[in-house]
Amino acid sequence: MTTTSDFPLFEIFIRSNRGLDHKHVGSLHAKDYEQALEYARDCYTRRSEGVSIWVVKSSDIVASQEEDAVSFYDPMDDKPYRHASYYKLPEAVNNM
């Protein structure tokens, strides 16, 4: 391999035989999408793990950052009413 810009990183998602959604399984380097798809087949479906593959350039993924955690997630801590378990069911619908 020469440089990583020649061989960008791709994230691989596989849908298993009975699965409904594609799950992230790992990443690999390839020259382009076509080659990434083939390498994904060879690296991640050798043991019949899946029937469908998605490849996405890692650089196209926008991820939340560690320092966002406080503003992203902490405000949810004091809002228990957003959970169904917060509510008591009336007797009449107890068997819902």
Partner: protein
Amino acid sequence: MNGARQKLLDFVIAQADDAMVLGQRLSEWCSNAPYLEEDLALTNVALDYVGRAKMFYEYASKLEAGKRSADDIAFLRDGRDFRNLLIMELPIGDFAFSMARQFLVDVFNLEYMALLQQSSDAEVAAIAGKAVKESRYHLRRSHEWVLRLGDGTEESHARMQKGLDELWGYIDELFVNTDAEVALIKEGVAIDRALLRDSWSNQVEAVLQEATLSKPGVEWTVTGGRQGIHTEHFGHMLAEMQFLQRAYPGLEW
């Protein structure tokens, strides 16, 4: 063993040897490929070929009524008893050479195995049915590598062209039928190799053109693998391939 059965056995062993020897050569790339992803992909192809060889050897063993096991046939024969085509046994060379070989062989194999699925011999047809799926993927890969390297950098182009030039003299042998095959073609067991030549040439030349490569102007041609006359590289390859069974006869994993 009667004559017809012997011919079938010869044919099956030649098929097995082609797959075994190419699989062994490809396996030499294991841990030596240009990068990890390609290493895995290449060894997957190697395993496809070893698996194909195993099926043919097992069928050969059955035709011999178990006189020799599949392992015996693969690992205890000497070079002169192997019947593989010479192109399969050439050393791996550089990556471009190996990909050029895969491409030239894959174009042949895909069409050959597709036809062999119609063999009147059920076992041969079944093995071909599995092989054709593998070969379709093999060709997809090797085709792309020929384009990538041929139409790549100055160095990759030169290496791919050199690989093709060195391999071209071994191509004729792909299309030569053995005496056993001639007899088996009449019975609908084997496929007439000679009939595949035009289609092979058209496909290969179209890809070479797209890859900005030239059709080699090689004048020489060599055959002999089907008669057990091999290149000087073959004995060294066998020494490595057969070492374990020779040193520890009957050893199993």
